[in-house]
Each structure stands twice: as structure tokens, then as C-alpha cells.
């Protein structure tokens, strides 16, 4: 049967995370449809996609869960699995849809073992759980860092659908987005993160941001740095923030609590700069430098 992928977009373009979700979908079925609220042409190009459903409305553009539910529910009979990306929009909408369909919700899937069997991390990534579902329909979110992106080269047909309006829905009031020219944290090849040791927002912007710029990296932060106001919430890497798996992760002044490691320990190469030689971050770092970031980061900038 067919699998539906709910695309992630930035409002204009389909994001690379959609290509990764298509890879997961293809592991379930060779017939993959994509539902998108923007850039249907972009979605149609993803190799392996057989049909694109294009739905647009004000509420869908703001990722309102009730609107996503009202759009997908009438289509659900035709699909054996509906895949969302494990970002804020997918996490918000997917469980709602699963409850409406009376099926289990399988979150943060990192591997598709069979069309009805999946692996997912639990306990902040300290254990991996393999599950088999007895439901006819599978509603899942996929952790895109675990799947390679499907290439662009296809040309699927696009069908425009008119979304139904939800009956009891939250309404959009306003949004405040962090503007950034740097690569997006979750898709970035390199990430530079700062922690509590930075001590202030000024210091974070003076030390972490230029190093990230020099490396062409996205900026991340530990929960301590975010809670202290050194960096915006959106920068948080960890169990309850974003999960990243870049080629290079540089942790500056981050001790490496369990909850932080949950968000970055699948990075290919991890560098830690910390003056405490016993910091837990050194247990996962490929290259650790015991030094005060105040000396090490400027020297590193000079050497790059």
C-alpha cells in the first residue's frame, strides 16, 4: 500500500528533511506520496515520490495541528503509513492524528526494520527500543538525522486538494522568528555550541558566533546557556531541544549532561574544549582539549 509523507517546508521551499523522510517512507513501501503546503514542484522532484498532494491554507501555513488533522483524516484510508518529520510541526500534529485513527504513535524513528517494525531511542537516547505494531495503520515521526536524503530527480504528478476547516481549533495570533543567515541547526554539516561557561550573552556572541561563522557552522547551545539567556531557545541541543548529527560538533564550555549528549552524540566528530578535565563531555569527544576557551578559541580562530 501507499505511504504518505507530510512535508516540512520553510513556507517557500520544501526542506531537505522531507527528502530524508521520503527515504524512511521508501523502506516501508515503494509507493510514496508527499503532502505539502508549499513548493509542490520541489516535492515532486524528490526521487521515489509517485504523487504530490498540494494543500494550502492560512492555518496549514502556521502548522496548526487541528488543520493538519482535518486535512489528512479524510485521506487516511488510502495509506498504510503516514510519516511526519520529528520537528515542532510533526510532533504537534502526528499524535493528534494517531489518536483520531485509534492507532499507536511511534515517535522519533531512527530505523525502519520492516513495514511494521521500527527502532527508536528512549530514556534520552540511553537505550534503543525496537517495536512491532499490530495496527493496520502506522503513524510515525522520523528523526531525520538517521536517514540519508533521497535525491532530487523525479517528476511526480501534483494534485491540488482543498483542505477541510477544523471545527475546534487553536487560532494563530503572532510569531517571532529568530533571523539568521547561518545554516539551520538540524541540517548543518558543522555545529559550534556554547555552554554555561560563556557567562553572558555578549561573551556567547563574541566567542561562539564568530567561530561558527569561520567554520560555516550553525550555532547551538546547552540548556544552561539557553536558560541563562545567553542564546535563544531555538538553539538548544539535547533531549528536549534539537537533535543534531553533523560531521563536526564543537562543544565549548559544555560539561556534557545526559540530556545534552542525547542531542549530539551521533555527530561524526566531536570536539570538546573545556577547562575541567573531568567533564563528562570528554567521554564522548573524539578530540578533547583541556583549556580555558578564552585562550583556546581565539587561537583556534587564528589557526583556521
Amino acid at each position: 500500500m501507499t505511504v504518505l509523507v507530510y512535508a516540512e517546508t520553510d513556507g517557500v521551499h520544501v526542506k531537505d528533511s522531507t527528502n530524508k523522510a521520503v527515504t524512511a517512507a521508501l523502506a516501508i513501501s515503494s509507493d510514496v506520496h508527499v503532502l505539502t503546503t508549499a513548493d509542490a514542484e520541489g516535492a515532486a522532484k524528490i526521487t521515489g515520490v509517485t504523487k504530490v498532494l498540494s494543500a494550502s491554507s492560512e492555518a496549514l501555513s502556521k502548522d496548526i495541528a487541528e488543520a493538519i488533522e482535518a486535512t489528512i483524516l479524510p485521506l487516511a484510508d488510502a495509506y498504510e503509513a503516514i510519516i511526519f518529520i520529528a520537528g515542532a510541526a510533526g510532533k504537534n500534529a502526528a499524535p493528534r492524528l494517531a489518536a483520531k485513527l485509534d492507532c499507536a504513535f511511534i515517535s522519533d524513528v531512527i530505523a525502519v526494520n520492516a513495514p511494521n517494525a521500527f527502532t527508536r531511542p528512549i530514556y534520552a537516547g540511553n537505550a534503543l527500543e525496537s517495536v512491532e505494531t499490530s495496527d493496520a495503520k502506522k503513524i510515525i515521526t522520523v528523526r531525520t538525522t538517521s536517514f540519508a536524503a533521497a535525491e532530487n530527480g523525479g517528476s511526480a504528478a501534483v494534485e491540488t486538494i482543498t483542505p477541510a476547516a477544523p471545527a475546534h481549533s487553536a487560532t494563530f495570533v503572532s510569531e517571532e522568528m529568530v533571523k539568521s543567515d547561518r545554516p539551520e541547526l538540524q541540517g548543518a554539516k558543522r555545529v559550534v555550541s556554547g555552554g554555561r561557561a560563556l557567562g553572558s550573552e555578549e561573551e556567547f556572541n563574541k566567542v561562539i558566533v564568530p567561530l561558527a561563522d569561520k567554520l560555516g557552522a550553525a550555532v547551538g547551545a546547552s540548556r544552561a546557556a539557553v536558560d541563562a539567556g545567553y542564546a535563544p531557545n531555538d538553539y538548544q541541543v539535547g533531549q528536549t531541544g534539537k537533535v543534531v548529527a553533523p560531521e563536526l560538533y564543537v562543544a565549548v564550555g559544555i560539561s556534557g549532561a545526559i540530556q545534552h549528549l542525547a542531542g549530539m552524540k551521533d555527530s561524526k566528530t566531536i570536539v570538546a574544549i573545556n577547562k575541567d578535565p573531568d567533564a563528562p563531555i570528554f567521554a564522548v569527544a573524539d578530540f578533547g582539549l583541556v583549556a580555558d576557551y578564552k585562550d583556546a578559541v581565539p587561537e583556534l580562530m587564528g589557526a583556521l
Partner: protein
């Protein structure tokens, strides 16, 4: 208004979990258990709404084994008025929990449900959304600010890329994020007082909800270990190693 706050007893967030050698699960024997951190934030928010004179009653509810009473006592010591425990020996999936909470909602008829965005054991992030779906109510998830006024709640949410504000007509389901507040510690006098507050204990099975799992856990394993790294002596050596590894 009346607020219902579901809370969950989970392994303490500071404990490093161990996977059982037979790969059937995580070893929870003799491990410190606590209230899920997100649930604490939910209780705190409900109690603050009461202190502001907006909420009139805060009811904490938990579903699970009998020792979950301790978790409810913590909620009562933080300021909840009374508690409900639905006992069950199985570890219900989020869908079953949502169905039980729906039954409690229909009995209690609260004006809002405030709950954590995820439990740190299953890391599902699903129960609140499922409850909203089953009750056909609006949802506002990952809240970092909640303003209740005139039968509505204005909720600022943490989303990818920044913050989003939604308005929901009450009753609604609100799930809370880390940044919403700093939960209080229960003082000793309040812990003593909490012992006198009522906990209504019922069997979950009495609600006629099918608790049978939809998912069969086939195995639980350790995540792959990272190979041991090295400590470098200088920035120069670090840069050389990174170049050798081809990452810069």
C-alpha cells in the same frame, strides 16, 4: 476555573539508565524515581494560576503503579488541591493514557488540562495531543508562556525557528515546555499539609478502557558506544588532528 494536571512517575532525570542484559527493557529495580520534570512545570503553572486568582481548583491525576501516590503527594505539596490515582500494573501506552485521561476529564469537567510536553522515559511527546484529539478540543503544545483571560488562553509556543503565539478557547489542552517557569520546591510544612489532602484511588480497569498495547517491544538495546577519543595538548595539535580526519 478548574485545572486538571496529569503527572507521571519516572526514573529521576539524573540517573544513568542501564539496559537489562537480556534486552527486555531498562533496569528500574532500586532506581530513584521522581516526578517527570515537565510535569513539575505543569503543576507549577497551574498553582500559579490559582495564586493569581484565575484558577479555583487544581486537580492532579496520575496513572500507574501504587507508588505513584508519592508523585501525587509531591504535586499536592506544591499546591494542588486534591489528587486522583488510577492504578494499573501495566505500563500503558500514550494512547491508553489519553483514553483514561479522557474519562477523568469527562468526570471532572475541568476548564483546562495543563501537562508536560513529554515524559523523559518514553520520550514520546504524544499524550497531550492525543487527549486533545479524543476530546475534540484545541491544543497548544510546547508552551513557554500561558495567559488566561476571558475564557481563552493565549499560549506562546516554542517552535523550530522561534516562538509562535496561539489562542485557544477553553477548555483546551496545553502542554508545557522547559522555559515556562521554575518549579518551586515543596516546603516541609507544605509536605506535611499535603498528607492531609485527599487522593482518590481507583482501578484503571474500572474505566473500561482497553489497555492492551498496540506495540510489542521486541528488544531494548544499548546505543552503539563511541570509540574512545583522545585528549590533545594544544590548539595546534587539535587543528592538525581535525585536518587529518578531513573534517576541516
Amino acid at each position: 476555573m478548574k485545572i486538571l494536571v496529569p503527572v507521571k512517575r519516572v526514573i529521576d532525570y539524573n540517573v544513568k539508565v542501564r539496559v537489562k542484559t537480556d534486552e527486555t527493557g531498562v533496569d528500574l529495580a532500586n532506581v530513584k524515581m521522581s516526578m517527570n520534570p515537565f510535569c513539575e512545570i505543569a503543576v507549577e503553572e497551574a498553582v500559579r494560576l490559582k495564586e493569581k486568582g484565575i484558577a479555583t481548583e487544581v486537580v492532579a491525576v496520575s496513572i500507574g503503579v501504587t507508588p505513584a501516590q508519592e508523585t501525587l503527594r509531591t504535586a499536592l505539596a506544591m499546591g494542588a488541591d486534591r489528587a486522583i490515582l488510577l492504578t494499573t500494573d501495566v505500563d500503558p501506552e500514550p494512547l491508553a493514557v489519553a483514553k483514561l485521561l479522557k474519562a477523568v476529564f469527562e468526570e471532572e469537567k475541568p476548564d483546562a488540562v495543563i501537562m508536560g510536553k513529554q515524559a523523559i522515559d518514553g520520550d514520546n511527546n504524544a499524550t497531550g495531543q492525543m487527549l486533545a484529539a479524543l476530546l475534540d478540543l484545541p491544543q497548544a503544545t510546547f508552551a513557554s508562556e500561558v495567559v488566561v483571560e476571558g475564557g481563552k488562553a493565549k499560549v506562546t509556543r516554542e517552535v523550530d525557528g522561534g516562538l509562535q503565539t496561539l489562542e485557544v478557547a477553553l477548555p483546551a489542552i496545553i502542554t508545557v515546555d522547559l522555559r515556562l517557569n521554575e518549579p518551586r520546591f515543596a516546603s516541609l510544612p507544605n509536605i506535611m499539609k499535603a498528607k492531609k489532602k485527599p487522593i482518590d484511588i481507583k482501578e484503571a480497569s474500572a474505566y473500561g478502557v482497553d489497555l492492551a498495547p498496540h506495540l510489542k517491544v521486541t528488544k531494548v538495546t544499548e546505543p552503539p558506544k563511541r570509540s574512545a577519543g583522545i585528549k590533545v595538548e594544544s590548539v595546534g595539535e587539535l587543528v592538525a588532528k581535525l585536518k587529518d580526519a578531513g573534517v576541516i
